[in-house]
Amino acid sequence: MIKKLIGPATSLAAPVTLVAAWWILSAGSTSPYFLPLSDIVDGFQQTWTTERMEDDLLPTVRALGVGFAVAVVTGIATGVALGLSARARRDLRPITEFLRSMPVVALVPIGLVVLGPGQRMEAALVAFAATWPILVSTSDGVRAADRVMIDTARVYGVSARRRLLRVTIPAAMPQVMAGVRIAVAAAVGTVIVANMLASSSGLGYLVISAQQSFDIQETWSGLLMIGLVGSVLTCTVVLAERVLLGWHRQYRSLERTAP
C-alpha cells in the first residue's frame, strides 16, 4: 500500500521541485522578459478566455488531431505494406528517403499555395511530418516479426489474412507505438510552425503576434498552452500504448530482471 503511494510521489518530485524553484526564484523579478511565475499564471487565466480558446486553441487542436490521425493510418498501412515486401521497399526507397529528409518548414509556402491558409493546410503538413516516423518503425517492426511465429501459424493452416492481423501486426506493435510516440513531437512542432508562418489564428500565431507586440505575458501564456497540448497528446498515446501493449511492459520488465 505504502509502496503504491510512494511510487507516484517520487515521480512527481522532479516536476514539483522545478516549478517551485521557478516560482521562488522568479518571485521578485523586475525584468520585463523574465516575469514572475505568478504573473504568468495570472496572464494565462486572462489570456485563455472561452472566446480565445475557440479562436486560437480549437483550430490548432483540430488540425493537429486530424493530421495526426491521418498520419497514424497512412503510416501504419504503408509501413505494413513496405515491411511485407522487400521489393516495394527497394523500389520505393529513393522516394521515401527523399520525402523523409524534406524539412516540413520548407513545405509551408507550397502548402499555403496549394491548399490556402487554414486548418486544411495545417492538417496536411502535420500528416506529412508525422507519417514518416510511424511508417519507418512500422516497416521495421513488420520486417522483424519472428519467422518462427509466422511459420507456426502457416503450418497450422492459418489464413494469410489472419496471419497478418493476428501475428505479424501484433508482433510489430511495440515498434509501431515507438514510432507513434516520436510522431507526436513532429506533429506538434509542425502545427505550431504552420500557425506561425501561414495563419491568422491558432496557437503559434498567438505566440508570435504577442511577441511582436511585446506582450510578454501573453507570449508566456501561449507557450504554456503549447506545452499542455503536447503533453495531452503524449499522454493519450502513452495510454493507448498501455492498453494495447500491456503485455509488453511486463514482458520487458521480466527480461530486465532475468539474469
Binding site: D146, R147, V148, M149, D151, T152, A153, R154, V155, Y156, G157, V158, S159, R162, R166, V167, P170, A171, M173, L245, W247, H248, Q250, Y251, L254
Partner: protein, 306 residues
C-alpha cells in the same frame, strides 16, 4: 532402383520382439494397448504421411547447394518415427519440406495418399525455439486456441479442446498466464498442448527438447510417450540426440550427411510403455543406440564439410 518404400516392406522383426510390450505393459488400459500393439500390425495400418523422393536444392547454377538429395519414407498411423542425422545434414530443411513450409525441389509429400501442395494439411509442428513459436502477447490459453480460431469451430468446443490439451500436458491451471511467465520446459509443454488441441494427422517435431536441460528433457520425453500412448497420434520427431531417437521411436531413420539421403531404417523393438530408468538399462536399448551412433559417426567421418 531401390525405393525407400521397399524398406518398409521388409519382413517385420521377430514376433517375440513385439510380443514383449503386451506382456510387460504394466497398465494395459485400452488406449495404451492400441498403441502398444501398433508395431505388430504396423504393416496393416494405413500410411498417413509419405515422403517420395524429396529433394531440396537452394540456389541455382554453380552456387546451388543440395541440402536434401533424395529422401523417401512412410509414416503409418499411430507410428512414432525418429529421424536422426549428423550435424548439418539438413534435418530442419527436411521437416520444412514435410510440413510444406518449403516447397521441395523434387519429389512430393503425400497425406493419406493424396499429394499435398502448399502447406501439408492436418499437420501440427512443435519447434525447438518455443519462445519464438508462442505469441508473447497472448495468454497460454489463447495461444493453444489460436490455430483453431477462424476454423468455424464453436467457441465452447474450442475452449474445451484447449482445456483438455492443457491438462494433458499437466498445465491445466496456467491458461491465464503469459507464456514468458513460465519456465522453458513449461513453454514447450504449451507448444505441445497447442499441437494436441489441433488434433493433427501427424505431429512434426523439430528438435523439440534440444534447448532444455537434461532433466526437463527427460520429463518431456516421457510426457510425449504418454501422449502418444493415449492418443495414438502419428509423430515424426527430428533430433540429433541418438538416445532420444531410440528411446522414443518405433523406428529410427538415420540420415546421411549432405546431400541428405535415408541411410538406414532401424526398427526399435523395445517394449512399451518405456521409462527413463528401465528402458535405457535394457541391453536392447544399448545395442540399438550403439548401432545408430556407429552409423552417425560413420556419416560424420565422410562429411565433405568436416
Amino acid at each position: 532402383m531401390m525405393r525407400a518404400s521397399d524398406r518398409d516392406d521388409r519382413p517385420t522383426p521377430t514376433e517375440s520382439g513385439f510380443a514383449m510390450p503386451i506382456a510387460t505393459a504394466s497398465e494395459p488400459t485400452s488406449e495404451q494397448n492400441s498403441a502398444a500393439t501398433a508395431p505388430r500390425n504396423a504393416q496393416e495400418r494405413p500410411v498417413v504421411l509419405e515422403a517420395r523422393h524429396l529433394g531440396v536444392t537452394y540456389g541455382r547454377g554453380r552456387s546451388a547447394v543440395t541440402a536434401i538429395g533424395d529422401v523417401s519414407f512412410q509414416a503409418r498411423a499411430g507410428e512414432f518415427l525418429s529421424i536422426v542425422g549428423p550435424s548439418g545434414c539438413g534435418k530442419t530443411t527436411l521437416l520444412k519440406a514435410l510440413s510444406g513450409l518449403l516447397r521441395p525441389t523434387t519429389g512430393e509429400v503425400r497425406v493419406n495418399g493424396t499429394p499435398a501442395s502448399g502447406v501439408t494439411p492436418g499437420v501440427a509442428m512443435v519447434f525447438q525455439e518455443y519462445t519464438r513459436s508462442l505469441m508473447p502477447w497472448q495468454k497460454v490459453r489463447a495461444n493453444v486456441e489460436f490455430p483453431l480460431r477462424g476454423t468455424g469451430l464453436p467457441k465452447r468446443e474450442l475452449a474445451a479442446r484447449a482445456a483438455k490439451a492443457l491438462s494433458e500436458v499437466g498445465l491445466a491451471d496456467v491458461g491465464d498466464k503469459y507464456p514468458w511467465q513460465l519456465s522453458g520446459g513449461m513453454q514447450q509443454r504449451v507448444a505441445i498442448a497447442r499441437a494436441l488441441a489441433f488434433q493433427p494427422n501427424v505431429l512434426l517435431m523439430d528438435e523439440p527438447f534440444a534447448s532444455l536441460d537434461a532433466q526437463v528433457r527427460g520429463d518431456l520425453e516421457d510426457l510425449l510417450l504418454h501422449v502418444h500412448a493415449r492418443t495414438g497420434m502419428t509423430i515424426i520427431l527430428v533430433t540429433h540426440d541418438i538416445d532420444e531417437s531410440v528411446y522414443l521411436g518405433d523406428r529410427v531413420i538415420a540420415l546421411s550427411h549432405r546431400p541428405t539421403r535415408v541411410r538406414t531404417t532401424i526398427d526399435v523393438d523395445l517394449p512399451r510403455p518405456r521409462d527413463q530408468i528401465h528402458t535405457k538399462a535394457l541391453g536392447g536399448f544399448i545395442d540399438l543406440r550403439t548401432r545408430v551412433l556407429e552409423l552417425i559417426v560413420a556419416e560424420r567421418s565422410v562429411d565433405p564439410d568436416s
